[in-house]
Symmetry: C2
Subunit: 504 residues, 2 copies
């Protein structure tokens, strides 16, 4: 393990964690964070030692409390600071004395409100002692596997009616890492992903990023086995060269999806007043993302939609996409969005068209089904028709990806079409994404069953097309750089470890 990797590992998998500012007052961040570790230790998830630091308490949640870091008998690895900004330099000195490896400063009151001098002072002490710092002014780290959890936002809230509701959930274990400059956006992302049953490997909120930044974190995640896709929310990048270098290395092996906030003049001004970030000309970011193969998305929804596609499906080896639908209008909407995203919805090869004609003659597809592209199996759609049509377009060597719109409203369509299509798709190393429109039981069932079988399902034709767009763009980048085959080999190897189980 490289030295820098080993250093950052202390943030995610420490032998001990110390919470400076741990308290018994249940509404305080210092309580919530300490309790997270205590509970995860009791559940056997967090395996390190735990120390609370608070000069006014003897015990917190059954753990002996220390007046200051230097009084702790054991070795310190990770220190989490949740006390007012002005006391932080003193604490950092103690951390240095105790040879701590990593410090997360949750506290705000530093550069973001003009206290640059204080922030510099803290970082200098840390640098001298070779302590790595995350923050200040951040949410810190959440690791679904090791039980490191610094999220201090209340997991539930009591409404004015007295009812207790889930407010900030933890998503299940999974393969997306979230790396975010905005803590608020990060918390919102966890809420979104938990609700959509999308799993997270690691969550890192940087805040002022006085020391550890995007470049180092990307580099660290390159070696993280649990992370397959990296979601990056960024307002500004301070060290452009390091960022480009790290990103170029990472995107060969793992897709990085980015929201760049502050891309317009209005947004840049908002960013400047928010964190003091000088966003810089958007063209520079656009060029850097392009050069490094970072997939830039337009908005929050595309951010998560692209991540879901890239976790579940292999990249496309080219830009030719087949659309299969039982709904003419939505088929056209998907075709429109494909073209806008730079994909090609071309006429199938003569050979494929002949095969379609044969299926019609055999009565396996409706006589009036359209079979150029999109394939429209019409409102008479059955499960078998989707299966036959999928098989044909997957076979076509000129087709690199498949968008399947199986709108459930047609009378004869049964939901077993999902497992049939999944079985067909599993024979080919080409990506597939699907869509069903609607919010009623049947639509929710269809989308969730597809997801369960590793085929990402979306609620609109355009969402599905944009998700395929991410698979195509990433595939084209890998091809251009000569890493496509290697990525595909690894992807398929991982997939074999978790084969999908259809009901057929």
């Amino acid at each position: 393990m490289e030295a820098s990797i080993r250093q950052l590992d202390a943030f995610f998998n420490p032998k001990s964690v110390t919470v400076v500012g741990a308290t018994k007052k249940i509404n305080k961040a210092g309580h919530v964070i300490f309790k997270n570790f205590v509970e995860n230790k009791r559940r056997g998830v967090f395996k390190g030692e735990i120390y609370p630091v608070n000069p006014h308490e003897d015990y917190i949640l059954g753990f002996q409390c220390y007046p200051k870091l230097t009084k702790i008998p054991g070795e310190l690895e990770l220190v989490v600071i949740v006390v007012p900004a002005k006391t932080v330099p003193e604490i950092m000195k103690d951390a240095a004395t105790k040879n701590a490896k990593a410090v997360v400063i949750i506290s705000s009151g530093f550069g973001e409100i003009g206290n640059h001098e204080l922030e510099r002072e803290v970082v200098e002490i840390a640098k001298k002692a070779e302590i790595r710092v995350l923050g200040p002014n951040c949410l810190g780290v959440y690791d679904s596997r090791t039980g490191v959890d610094m999220l201090f936002l209340p997991e539930t809230k009591i409404l004015t009616t007295g009812e207790e509701v889930v407010a900030t959930p933890r998503p299940m274990m999974g393969n997306m890492a979230i790396v975010t400059q905005s803590g608020a956006f990060g918390a919102a992302a966890l809420d979104y992903l938990a609700g959509r049953q999308m799993g997270v490997s690691k969550f890192v909120s940087f805040g002022n990023k006085s020391d550890v930044d995007e470049a180092e974190m990307l580099h660290y995640l390159l070696y993280d086995k649990e992370t397959k896709v990296i979601l990056l929310y960024v307002e500004d990048v301070k060290n452009g060269r390091a960022f480009i270098e790290a990103a170029s290395k990472v995107t060969r092996k793992k897709p990085v999806i980015a929201i760049k906030a502050g891309k317009t003049e209005a947004g840049a001004k908002a960013a400047a007043s928010h964190t003091g970030a000088i966003a810089g000309a958007d063209e520079i970011y656009a060029a850097a993302f392009k050069q490094t193969g970072i997939l830039r998305v337009r908005d929050m929804e595309e951010f998560f939609d692209a991540a879901k596609a890239l976790v579940m499906q292999p990249p496309a080896a080219g830009k030719n996409v087949a659309i299969i639908t039982d709904a003419g209008g939505p088929g056209i909407m998907a075709a429109d969005e494909c073209e806008l995203q730079g994909m090609v919805v071309k006429r199938f090869s003569e050979k494929t068209l002949e095969k379609f004609e044969r299926l019609k003659e055999e009565g396996k597809l409706p006589k009036f089904a359209t079979n150029i592209n999109p394939v429209d199996v019409t409102g008479s759609a059955t499960s078998e028709m989707f299966e036959y049509a999928a098989e044909l377009v997957f076979q076509d060597p000129e087709i690199h990806g498949v968008i399947l719109l199986g709108l459930h409203h047609t009378p004869a369509l049964q939901e077993d079409y999902i497992d049939r299509v999944a079985r067909v798709a599993s024979k080919y190393n080409k990506p597939i994404v699907t869509c069903d429109i609607g919010e009623t039981e049947m639509a929710l069932h269809i989308r969730s069953r597809f997801d369960k079988l590793g085929i990402p399902a979306y609620p609109s034709p355009e969402d599905a097309a944009r998700a395929m767009g991410a698979l195509v763009k990433y595939g084209l980048y890998l091809k251009k750089k000569g890493f496509f085959e290697e990525y595909m080999r690894n992807f398929l190897k991982e997939k074999q470890k978790q084969p999908i189980q259809t009901l057929l």
Copy 2:
């Protein structure tokens, strides 16, 4: 009532309806449609007479069956045809003999598969007899108020597990009309709107639009009291002049939101093979939409999001938007999208800035809250802070609309901020839209409470910004044409009839 309006009224509020092809076979469209009317009559919703036509039955669902239209003793107003295409000319002749006013041809097998001659023959018979025709190859009409319901898609389906689930629901009564060339998209729209608790006034699926088309339907809906916003899905417009004339008239009083499918080459090809629609150059449509004030949207989600905003909120009198947030990052994302949509997120007036400073001095806003624009009340946000900030920006005469991002994850924020903000907003005639991110209980509660109070809530900052964009674009169109004041007067009059009830 104009003659043309009276004619079309027969489709939505007929004194009698006759279903040709009514049957006892429960999986057939002829059964489902007839049963819809029978059930709505029994519930007292549909008030007209009902006649089934089928030469092989004596009674269907307790109603006396007739072998053909001419044998029915009563007067015919609306006739719904659900029998094979080749028999339709004969039936149309009978409808002419009986002086029917309106005929819906659900059946397919006409122009869309090349049988143009048959379609022409049917329309000629109808024209001579002054019968108006909807279809063929369509889903027909659904009217939430009169109980006219021709949707033959199964309302529930039985899964392979034996479980019965809702498949094609009917949305609640409401104020959006759906006018769609694609039946499949129409059915999907009903599913979406039902699931999102968005109400529908009328639903019309045109299919081949051999007679009644978009222009006439827009004109009809102009006079429909229940319809406040019109959602239009269109692939091609045949009579451009009539369309532009009708649209120009309608958009003065009611917003029309359009998806134009087939806007790219790939999409246009798909449309041509789907319905034979020749989509024509997209620039022509773009120009026509712009000229007539039709709001064109990018995709399905924006389609419904804009409709929700325009049903609930007044248009904006200008393009200056204020953003209030407790989450810095999402505030920047909203500012970015505002600028992309042509809105302006400008610095507040000195007077407003002074008022903010005073609030800070009084301890009513956090010391480090940003107050230029966006206003960031920070992670210390409370309900009162949102209330104060909203009051200030609504007061500013230079601000035309407000986007409020109340992310619930911040520890101190209670959900009563919703009612406080709604009370503030109700004092001003300016639009407001809101956003909370997440899928957990608290997020769902917040968005649904806002919706209930007539303030549209969205799940992402960009969605909220685009919804405000629709209110701004429509407002600017009305201003340019000189109809803003009149629209606003009507909007406020309607709103007074249904005042919102906050809990405060």
